[in-house]
Amino acid sequence: MKNNSDHPVPPKWAIRFVGWFCPAMLYETIEGDLIEQFEADVDEVGERRARRRFVWNVMKFFRTGIIVRNKLSPQLNSVDMFQNNIKVAWRRLLKDKTFGAINVLGLSLSIAACLLILQYAHFEMGYDSFYKNAKQIYRVTTNTYDQNELVYRSALSSQRVAPALKSDFPEVIDAAQLVPTSGWFDCTLRYERVIFNELSLYYGDASFFKVFSFPLKEGDPTTALQNPYSIVLDESSANRYFGNDTAIGKILRLKGSFDDHDCVVTGVMRDLPKDSHLDVSILLSLSSLDHLPHKEKFDSYTYVLLAPGSDPARLETKLPSLVTKYVGNSAANTSIALQPVKDIHFSNDLRDEPKPGGNESVIYFLLTIAAFILFIAWINYINLSTSRALERAKEVGIRKVSGAPRSQLITQFLTESTMIHFISIIFAWIILITISPAFYKMVGLPAFSPLSEFHLNKPEWIVLAIFSAGIFMSGYYPARIISSFNPILVLKGRFSGSRKGLVLRKGLVVFQFICAIGLLTGVFTVQNQFEFMQQQKPGIDITNTLVIEAPANVDSSYLTKLSGFKKQLQSLSLVTSVTTSTDVPGQRIGWVGDVRKEADKSVTGRNFAIHVIDTDFITGYKLNLMAGRDFQPADLPKGSFGSKLESVILNEQAARQLSFNYS
């Protein structure tokens, strides 16, 4: 290894390494010291060990104190300035506690309000975005026409749609059907002595798990819904029936108006998140419907999973031909369309939705209010700070005389405002955490912690950017004003405040007041409107009224049991009246049918909602009869409807529409 026989040299690569990481400013002298050390080492311990020591010494120089020295050294001064700025800002805050408290309180309250609204909006706008392929999932909706007039837009579609779409269009990867039971099939499930009415029970098949990329916690998603009377429960339903026992393989008894059969549990799925438009908690295999002769009459929610990159608009143009192919002549009355699954929550124009949707304009309105609240707080901060500029004039004057450049002063005041903002944000966070559970209870949302639901997606970045810009601007403007003072005028004591910026300040105050008054007016209006609405007499007495939902399985003993139950209730001293009805006032009436006068045979009937009540309904709810009489026990149907001439009571509107004279 001896290349220079008379003169040992240190390893070249090590020297090159020093040259690579060492700042140019230090390089030469460090290298010199290293070589000198090497030469001394050669004399002392020989070349071999000296070379090793050289490398070791080089390595020891590879440390932050050397590597970043060149880059940091010019800024060392500003680190000191920064620490000093923070200290001065903190002292200012403590010196004028009222001012500091007003600032921090105002900012933290408005930031908290703003965050609360943002959190709510974030939840509402994030509906149905958690499916893995959310962007490729579409729901098939149905439009029904009557003489070319759109009469009914439904979230449901025929059961024939899903298989047809799957077989006819290659871009449809899969199509799932969910046949809801609410409205036509009231059923109960029973396990030993545990029995529940099941309202969120759907008929479905394996495609459901595939389209929504929904994993099963237990069971095989491909086969779980294959055989008739296979059932998949969500975790909380499984828990209701089986507690902590395993649910798989257990037998549940399904009993309802159309069916009475044993079902075997083949899977357990996770509960659907609250921000899903679906409310599926129990899935029965679609094949369980096969034995019903009229099973095609039940419409289903149909969801398609499109191949990535395929154009839903192009698929939509091919849909009319599909309807013609499968439905035939009556196709003119029906058309189907695709709706992105993410749009479902905010679309309010469809009927038969599984869950009530949200209101997008309300969300945007709330977001606007949040922005206004924040702007008002910032404007308030600007005004408070600039109005106090005179107090700082002496400080600025002294600093300027001692050679502080304006940029340094601006940095100082920016540090001050940023610090106040940070303190406010901490307070806002505390406020948010304390009040958000109560807030979510009030608006009827599941409580969620602000941190766990926060992901930095595009909208969050926008919010963060607005926030940072606001923090900067609300600090920068006062900083400019305060740092603009002429030191000579200030120190001579002939300084009376700056006139420039006064117009802007006045403008800001006016704007602030307009916003505040506008918001207050809005709040009062809404509150008054609310009170007015609540004070309206609904024409029905529902005070101290308790609704008990009847078991859904109806058999021959139902009426006897019901009247026994009623009698028992009536014997209680605290019960004044008991009545049975198919629906409860305020609920949508489920039974709809065509009604016309018997005499007008030529006229097609109008659609009427039919509410079945007993003899105690009208007295119990304290309704006013305008004409005629209440039902008597003799009016009740014998066995089933239509076995005799039934009695009906019309409401005012119905009587008018059927052109009856009632007065």
Binding site: D33, E36, K60, F61
Partner: protein, 108 residues
């Protein structure tokens, strides 16, 4: 800023710079420490400490003339500033002050 303090190694090296007068550079400093108090300080540690002392204003440095040894590379010569001397003096006085307060027990 509160009162500045020196670390133990900083104090040692600052003192050595004061001893070496016009001849204080990396190798000389560690050699002096080795011979005077028999302590091994690595070259890199000495450099970093010297730069830190320079930042604090207790030493200043200049680049000396080239020599034939050390591959013709120049030396960075450190000299103690009056602030550095004042610091050393203050520290020494503090020590003596404290030392006087220690009960002078005879070792058995």
């Amino acid at each position: 800023m509160g009162k500045e303090y020196l670390g133990e190694l900083e104090e040692l090296i600052l003192t050595v710079v004061g001893i070496l007068q016009e001849d204080a550079y990396g190798n000389a400093v560690i050699k002096e420490i080795k011979s005077q108090v028999n302590r091994v300080v690595s070259l890199a540690a000495a450099h970093v400490t010297l730069y830190r002392l320079e930042d604090k204003g207790y030493v200043k440095s200049r680049v000396g003339g080239a020599t034939k040894t050390r591959g013709g590379r120049r030396k960075r010569i450190f000299t103690i500033t009056s602030a550095g001397l004042a610091m050393l003096r203050a520290m020494k006085e503090d020590r003596i002050q404290l030392w006087k307060l220690v009960p002078q027990l005879k070792s058995s």
